[in-house]
Amino acid sequence: MNLSYLIRRLVAVLVVMAIVTVAVFAITNVLPGNAALMILGENATAQNLAALERQLGLDRPLLVQYFDWVSGVVRGDLGMSLRLGLPVAEVVGSAFINSMWLAGLALAAVTVISIPLGALAAIKRGTVYDTGIGVFSYVGTALPEFVTATLLLVLFASPANPIFPAGGFADPMEDFGLFLTHAALPVATLGLVLMAHISRQVRSEMSEVLSSDYVRAARIKGLSERRVIWRHTLPNSMAPAVAVISLDIGYLLGGIIVVEEIFAWPGLGRLLIYALQNRDLPVIQAITLVLAVVYALSNLISDLVIAKLDPRVRYG
């Protein structure tokens, strides 16, 4: 890997981002009923509407509006929220931090749990343990988040048995313990699906490594089973595991939308649902863009990590 590769990848990310801005702008501007109508309501007079449209700049050609928006984005100015009366950057910024706490915690929990789970299933292939993980992974991937979340609420947050709070948020900087109790159920919901998927993938990658020639050679050489697994199998299964996890980040970013809505977590997902319901276009555009950037960057980072983990992978 070298600098020119990194630069090329960053340029590719920028190109994709440019396309995303066009797509986001196109989708949000064909929404029926423009922002002015949404603010003033159904009974607004044509005069008031025209005045507000002029004030918001909605009467200008779409192309002008697009370039105006993009140049704002580049300068870090995302406009004003139409509903909340606050700068979009401020609203989305704080929601972004809350969402990243949730997503980060879920990702960490999933990584720590599902890699050993998948590895064990591969090592103990064909045993009850392997079958158990297989069943778990199929059930986990077949349950949508809103079902898991609701079932977790029934089990752990019922009025009769309130082990965890049913929703809400606490600032991790002020009271980390309280934050964790609020995060427990959302993280468990997000984690179940991801764990199911990732452990299955890790199992299949590791099975492949276990049946490879170099592992057989290591066994023939007379190395202990422990050494075969720790020195020869696990390190070679890590790169595919990272690849699987990075693919699932897109899924995670979609998952937080539903999970935040259900658990009243004040993050990007909940803000997005609110903005969609209220046609708050600048907020919708900003959130979509932020999620796309996070996704693209996480893919880039995972490619770099894979190259570090697996010397056979060369990017030139």
């Binding site: 809103f146 492949e208 996704y295």
Partner: protein, 272 residues
């Protein structure tokens, strides 16, 4: 088919799909009650002899509602997937066959669309279309298109330089003949496998949209909507959430297992 039934995953998938498809084909006729009938003396009940799966907040029979919701749920999954597969295959084949500049431009646009999480993309489209079952179906179909296009393209690329394609070209066959008679039939395997697995995603996204109030509307028996309505009463009668949840999971799992078994049958090397 024999190959599919040779693994336990395949058997489980076939069994689940048989149950789900039976419910989808005959559900409304074998349902014991009218799914919209209020049994006011039996609200929010658990499973019993009269109501096998219990009742909801209006005393409507849950088994009857699940059975009535089955056809639309399965049709939704298959409809949305077919839409995405058709549109995606056309785009993917065009990109793969054309190559060069056209391919590059199409791929960049697809990358841009794939840079948004699928659910976010679907939500944007469904909001723009205005909510409702048909709108949700269209949105899921559109959201599936870029991913399917990529798979179709790579399937086309993998057969494009095979001998039989070169032979057809050497024979002087027309381009469309080669695409329809040589390339597509040989590239269709991975597309079908991906489509089968995606039906389960489509059903889950459809249920999620119903849950968020952007898909089917009350008093529809759409399963996601049933969970959303039962949520208010979940502590008094969790069955209202559990039953449609199981129905969604069974359907999604059936398509998932069947798709995986199908892939292994197409490509024995992958079955580990």
């Amino acid at each position: 088919m024999g190959r599919i039934l040779s693994t336990s995953n395949g058997v489980a998938g076939v069994i689940l799909l048989t149950i789900v498809l039976t419910a989808a084909l005959f559900g409304p006729w074998i349902a014991p009650y009218d799914p919209q009938l209020f049994h006011s003396q039996a609200r929010l009940q658990g499973p019993s002899a009269t109501h096998w799966l219990g009742t909801d907040q209006f005393g409507r029979d849950l088994l009857s509602r699940i059975l009535n919701g089955a056809p639309s749920t399965v049709l939704f999954g298959m409809g949305a997937t077919s839409l995405g597969v058709c549109a995606g295959t056309v785009i993917g084949v065009i990109a793969g066959v054309a190559g060069g500049r056209t391919d590059g431009v199409i791929m960049r646009i697809l990358d841009g669309m794939l840079a948004m999480p699928e659910l976010l993309f679907t939500l944007l489209i469904v909001t723009f279309l205005g909510g409702g079952t048909l709108q949700a179906l269209l949105a899921v179909g559109v959201a599936f298109t870029p991913g399917m296009a990529r798979i179709a393209r790579s399937a086309v690329l993998s057969v494009r330089t095979r001998e039989y394609v070169l032979a057809a070209r050497a024979r002087g066959e027309s381009r469309s003949w080669i695409v329809l008679r040589e390339v597509l039939p040989n590239a269709i395997g991975p597309i079908i496998v991906e489509a089968t697995i995606r039906v389960s995603f489509a059903i889950m996204i459809g249920a999620t949209l119903g849950f968020l109030g952007l898909g089917a509307q009350p008093p529809s028996t759409e399963w996601g909507l049933m969970v959303s309505e039962a949520r208010q009463f979940m502590f008094r009668n969790p069955w209202g959430v559990i039953i449609p949840g199981i129905a969604i999971a069974m359907t999604a799992m059936g398509f998932n297992l069947f798709g995986d078994a199908l892939r292994d049958a197409f490509d024995p090397k992958r079955s580990l």
